[in-house]
C-alpha cells in the first residue's frame, strides 16, 4: 500500500480536486435524483428549510415510470415526444455535420480573405446562445421579422414560424443548426489539416479524381474526428434545452424530452420534481444505450478508443 501511494500520490493529488467536486456535485445529486424517481416529491412535499417544514414525500415504487411510459398526455406523451426528440437530434446533427464538413473543405484551401472568412464563420459560436436565440426570434417574427418581410416582398407566403404548428420545430432546428455549425467546422478543419499532404499528392500523381480523393483519403482520414464529434453532437443536441425553451417556450409542437422535464420542474405551483427526475433518468438511460451501441459499431469497424 505504501509503495502504491509512493508511486501514484502525485497523480492522485492532481486529480483529487476534480474527483471531490464531481463526487459532491454530480454523483451524489445523481444518486439522490435517482431515488426521487421512486417518490412523489413535489413543491408541496419537499423539505422546506425556509418555512421549517420537514419532507413529507413518500415512496411510490415504479408509479412514475408507469405513468410516463404509458404515454399519457398529462405526463408529456412520452412516445411521441421521444419521436420528436429523435427528429430534432438527428436532423440537427446531420445538418451540423454536412454543413460543417462542407465549410471546412472550402476553408482548407489557400485563398484570399481566408482568415476573415474563418472569423466570420465561427462568430455564431462566440455570441451567447440566448442572444442568438433572441436575434433569431426577431428575424422570425411573423409580423415585422425581416424574413417574412423579404418573403412578402417577393409575393411568397409569410407563415408564423415559431407558432403552434410543426413549422416551429423546423424553425428551432434552423436556429440550432446555425448555432452548432461552427463547432463542427472547427474540429473537422483540424481533422482535415492532420491528414498528411503526401497522400493527396500521391493520389493526384496516380490520376485520382477530386471525388476519389475525397472518398478514399479525406473521409477515412476524418473518421476518428468524425466519430467523436458526431457522438458528442448527438449527446449535446439530445439534451439541448435552451434553444427550444428560449425560442418557443412551452410549445407542445417543439417539446422534446429535456424541455418537458424542465417544464415539469418549473411550471406552475406544483413543480413536480418526481416526474422531472423520471424524465431525466429515462434520458440518461437512452443515451447510455445509444453510446454503447455506437461504440460497439465503431469498434467493429476497427476504431480503437
Amino acid at each position: 500500500m505504501r509503495a502504491f501511494l509512493a508511486r501514484h500520490w502525485y497523480a492522485y493529488a492532481m486529480v483529487l480536486p476534480v474527483v471531490v467536486v464531481v463526487g459532491a456535485l454530480v454523483l451524489l445529486p445523481l444518486a439522490q435524483g435517482l431515488y426521487f424517481t421512486f417518490t412523489n416529491i413535489n413543491e408541496a412535499t419537499i423539505a422546506n428549510p425556509v418555512l421549517d417544514r420537514p419532507a413529507s414525500y413518500e415512496f411510490v415504487g415504479l408509479d412514475n415510470y408507469v405513468n410516463v411510459l404509458t404515454g399519457g398526455e398529462s405526463y408529456g406523451a412520452f412516445w411521441s415526444t421521444l419521436g420528436r426528440t429523435l427528429i430534432w437530434t438527428f436532423g440537427c446533427v446531420l445538418a451540423h455535420y454536412a454543413i460543417g464538413l462542407g465549410l471546412a473543405l472550402l476553408l482548407n484551401r489557400r485563398m484570399r480573405f481566408r482568415g476573415l472568412y474563418r472569423v466570420l464563420l465561427i462568430l455564431p459560436w462566440a455570441v451567447p446562445p440566448f442572444i442568438s436565440v433572441f436575434a433569431w426570434r426577431y428575424l422570425f417574427n411573423s409580423q415585422f421579422g425581416i424574413i417574412n418581410q423579404a418573403l412578402g416582398a417577393l409575393g411568397l407566403p409569410t407563415p408564423v414560424w415559431l407558432g403552434q404548428s410543426d413549422l416551429a420545430l423546423f424553425s428551432v432546428m434552423v436556429i440550432n443548426t446555425w448555432l452548432g455549425v461552427p463547432f463542427m467546422m472547427v474540429t473537422l478543419l483540424g481533422g482535415l489539416q492532420s491528414i498528411p499532404r503526401e497522400l493527396y499528392e500521391a493520389a493526384e500523381m496516380d490520376g485520382a479524381s477530386a471525388w476519389q480523393r475525397f472518398r478514399d483519403i479525406t473521409l477515412p482520414g476524418l473518421r476518428s474526428v468524425s466519430s467523436t464529434v458526431v457522438l458528442l453532437g448527438v449527446i449535446w443536441t439530445f439534451n439541448l434545452f435552451h434553444v427550444i425553451f428560449l425560442s418557443t417556450g412551452q410549445n407542445p409542437h417543439t417539446r422534446i424530452l429535456v424541455t418537458y422535464s424542465f417544464e415539469r420542474f418549473f411550471s406552475g405551483a406544483s413543480r413536480d420534481y418526481a416526474v422531472a427526475s423520471t424524465y431525466g433518468v429515462l434520458i440518461l438511460s437512452l443515451l447510455l444505450v445509444f453510446v454503447t451501441i455506437y461504440r460497439r459499431a465503431m469498434r467493429r469497424q476497427g476504431e480503437v478508443w
Binding site: 502525485y10 497523480a11 476534480v18 465549410l103 459560436w125 483540424g190 467523436t228 449527446i235 435552451h242 422531472a276
Partner: protein, 303 residues
C-alpha cells in the same frame, strides 16, 4: 475521445504544412475561384446577419424597430444604450458585474483544475485513470433535470445556495470534462523528454507541470479558457434556479430573460442590451480565435 482535442491541436500546428499543397491548389480555374468565394461569402453572410441585424436594431427607437419597412438607419441614436446602462430597465450594471465575476472565476478554476487533471491523465498510468475518463464522457449525458433538485439541496447544505461560488462550482462540473479531454490532447503532444529533463534538473512533478508543460500548452489553455468562459457567460437554467430572486444578484442571462418578459415590445432596448451582453464574449473570442483554428504558424501563411 481525445481525438477532437488532437484535431484542434493539429489545426493549430498544421497550417504550416498546408502551405505547399495550398500553393499547388492556387492554380485553380477562375470559375472555381468565383464559386469558392461565392459559397463562402454566402455562408459568412448567413453566419453574421442575425447578429448584424441586432446591432442595427439596437440603435433604433422601439417604434422604428418594428417598422414594416426595415431600413439600416432609422432615427438611430444611442438612446437605448443610455437607457439600459443607466439602470432604468433593471440593474444592468450589477448583472454585468455578477456575470463577469462568475464567468471569470469559472474560467480560472475550470482551466486550473482541468489542466492538472489532464496532465495526470496524460502522463501517469495510475489505477482509476480509465474510469475517470469514462466518467467524464458519461457526465456529458447528464440532463440537468435529474441533478437540479438534489444540487439545490446540496448547495443549501454547504451554505452555497444563492451565492456566486456555488454557481461557479456547478459550471465547473459542466466545463471541466470537455476541457480535460481537450487539454489531454495538447499535453499528449508535448514530448515526455521535456518532463524527464525537468526531473533530472531537480524539479518536482508539480514543478515540471507548472514551469515546463503548462507554458508549452498555452494555446490549449486559451481554447479551454474560451470554452469555460462561454459556458458560464451564457448559461440560463442553473443560474435562474440557483441565484436568489433579488435583482442585484442576477447574472446577465437571467436578468435579460426577465427583461425580455417584461418589455416584450421594446425591441430596440432589448437589442441594445443584447449587444452589451454579447460584447465581452466576442472580445474573449477574438483574443483566442487564432488559437482556435489558424494558430501561430498561420500568420506566416497569410491566413
Amino acid at each position: 475521445m481525445s481525438v477532437d482535442a488532437a484535431a484542434l491541436q493539429t489545426a493549430r500546428t498544421g497550417a504550416g504544412a498546408a502551405a505547399p499543397t495550398a500553393a499547388r491548389r492556387g492554380r485553380r480555374s477562375r470559375l472555381a475561384s468565383v464559386g469558392l468565394h461565392a459559397a463562402l461569402v454566402t455562408a459568412s453572410f448567413v453566419a453574421v446577419f442575425p447578429i448584424f441585424w441586432v446591432l442595427v436594431t439596437s440603435f433604433k427607437p422601439d417604434a422604428r424597430a418594428v417598422s414594416p419597412t426595415p431600413r439600416l438607419v432609422d432615427e438611430s441614436s444611442v438612446d437605448n444604450y443610455v437607457d439600459v446602462l443607466s439602470g432604468a430597465r433593471g440593474d444592468f450594471l450589477a448583472w454585468f458585474g455578477n456575470s463577469v465575476t462568475i464567468a471569470g472565476l469559472t474560467t480560472l478554476l475550470g482551466v486550473f483544475v482541468s489542466s492538472t487533471t489532464a496532465y495526470a491523465v496524460s502522463r501517469f498510468r495510475f489505477p482509476g485513470r480509465r474510469g475517470l475518463m469514462l466518467t467524464f464522457l458519461v457526465m456529458q449525458m447528464f440532463p440537468f433535470a435529474v441533478l437540479i433538485v438534489p444540487l439545490y439541496n446540496i448547495l443549501l447544505a454547504l451554505g452555497l445556495q444563492g451565492r456566486s461560488l456555488g454557481l461557479v462550482l456547478v459550471y465547473c462540473t459542466t466545463a471541466v470534462p470537455f476541457c480535460t479531454y481537450m487539454l489531454k490532447g495538447y499535453f499528449d503532444t508535448v514530448p515526455t523528454d521535456i518532463d524527464e529533463a525537468g526531473r533530472v534538473d531537480g524539479l518536482s512533478p508539480f514543478g515540471v507541470f507548472w514551469r515546463l508543460v503548462l507554458p508549452l500548452a498555452r494555446p490549449g489553455l486559451a481554447v479551454t479558457a474560451f470554452y469555460s468562459f462561454i459556458t458560464a457567460w451564457g448559461e440560463v437554467a442553473f443560474a435562474s434556479a440557483f441565484l436568489s430572486a433579488a435583482d442585484g444578484s442576477k447574472t446577465l442571462s437571467v436578468g435579460l430573460q426577465v427583461f425580455i418578459q417584461q418589455n416584450r415590445t421594446e425591441w430596440g432596448h432589448l437589442a441594445a442590451a443584447s449587444v452589451l451582453v454579447a460584447l465581452p464574449a466576442v472580445a474573449v473570442f477574438y483574443l483566442v480565435q487564432r488559437f482556435l483554428v489558424g494558430g501561430l504558424a498561420d500568420g506566416a501563411a497569410k491566413g
